[in-house]
Amino acid sequence: MNDPTSDDRILRLNAAIDGELDASSWLELEREMGADPALAAEYRRLEALRASMARLAPREPAPKTLADRIAALGAPVAQAAPMPVSRPAWSGARILALAASVAVIAFATGAGLTALRQSATPGVAAGLVSDFARASIAGQPYDVGSSDRHTVKPWLAGRTTVSAAIVDLAAQGFPLSGGRIAIVDRIPAPTLVYRHNEHLVAVTELPPGSEGARAGGSIQTIDGYHVARWSDANLAYVAVSDMDEETLAEFVAAFRQAEKPASEAPAK
């Protein structure tokens, strides 16, 4: 006589109530249960347990707060109040290309579209601002969290074509927090996240001559975030931050100073 408690029969009982048994195995099992009341009783117990779970431990509705946050991730809707429209610096083709490459592009109501502020290359900065806002709201400002350059650099190097310049600014009050990837014009670009008190600054490094590149140290404001751009011989940089303008300027100065090759550093 078969051992009624054999593993195989228990597995087949479970597979039967899970609908994972093929027709012939099912017939075979029914025959065995007919001959063995203990096995049939075990089947009924498993079935009862499964029914109880369905009734007493059901799938729970996700809280509305979560549903809203998830919907926001998928819905490119303006999050901030419409920005002042200076002029419709709009090129349909560019905007469409950008929409495909950045996560959130928002067109405000009212004006019908949001003109990005007076910049020759509005899209890149606006895209990076959206990235920054999204990352901050999601509470996930970086993909690799580390204050160690030697951790962040290889992580970025494995995912981008630009070799990131990573400087240590902890002594100046801007410790490295981590790194992430921004997508700019469909190209992954390394982004470094530095912290200053409770504020963050994200520096995206772009190949020189890319659309987002623009020399000059002036700071503009997009959607309430400050954006600084500069470039050197090797790379163009776009820094987005929720710091005030003066602190961001300080950060940029410190970054540029630290990033200069030793030979260019002013002699002491």
Partner: protein, 180 residues
């Protein structure tokens, strides 16, 4: 007044796939981490991962795909924040000690059936399962994934999935029976 809304391809895919799976995702995360606030964070983290993945991939079978991401996000979250509650590593022996065979095989299942009616006890018994048994049971009985999908999601062979399910259910019955 019109609002022009243009989303990326990834966002369109995301909006089709993820919101309908949110209850499944949330319930799975909540069982694995046993806490609702943490489950919200885990699902959000999983959603961000999913959105990123959808930039380069189209998905054939969204449910097992997204629940796998949720499961992995929950496991890494637990490993990082509450490693002691995550009975995964080094507990193969413990798992084996849970015998899927009940032993008694009482012909009269009445008593067990009554015990199953107590929702609070049932939920406590589920929460007390070791993580590998718990996630397998939830993916099967709550999320309705097939054995094959669960095997792929958990990285375990089919045979292991089957034995984990049998052990999980046997353990529940034992707990419900043993408790006063």
């Amino acid at each position: 007044m019109t609002t022009a809304v243009i989303g990326s391809v990834a966002q369109r895919r995301f909006s089709d796939i993820v919101p309908p799976l949110l209850d499944d995702a949330y319930t799975l995360a909540k069982w694995i981490c046993r806490n609702s606030a943490d489950a919200e964070d885990i699902v959000q983290e999983a959603a961000i991962r999913a959105l990123k993945a959808l930039e380069t991939t189209a998905i054939d079978r969204p449910k097992p795909w997204f629940l796998t991401i949720v499961r992995n996000a929950a496991i890494s979250w637990m490993a990082k924040n509450r490693p002691k509650d995550l009975s995964y590593a080094g507990d193969a022996a413990d798992l084996d000690s849970i015998d899927p065979r009940l032993g008694e095989f009482a012909p009269d299942p009445e008593q067990a059936l009554i015990a199953f009616e107590d929702g609070e006890r049932l939920r406590r018994a589920i929460a007390g399962l070791p993580s590998p048994l718990l996630e397998t049971l939830i993916m099967r009985d709550v999320n309705g994934l097939s054995y094959r999908d669960i095997a792929e999601a958990t990285g375990a062979p089919m045979g292991t999935v089957m034995s984990r399910l049998a052990r999980a259910r046997a353990s529940l019955m034992k707990t419900l029976k043993a408790e006063p």
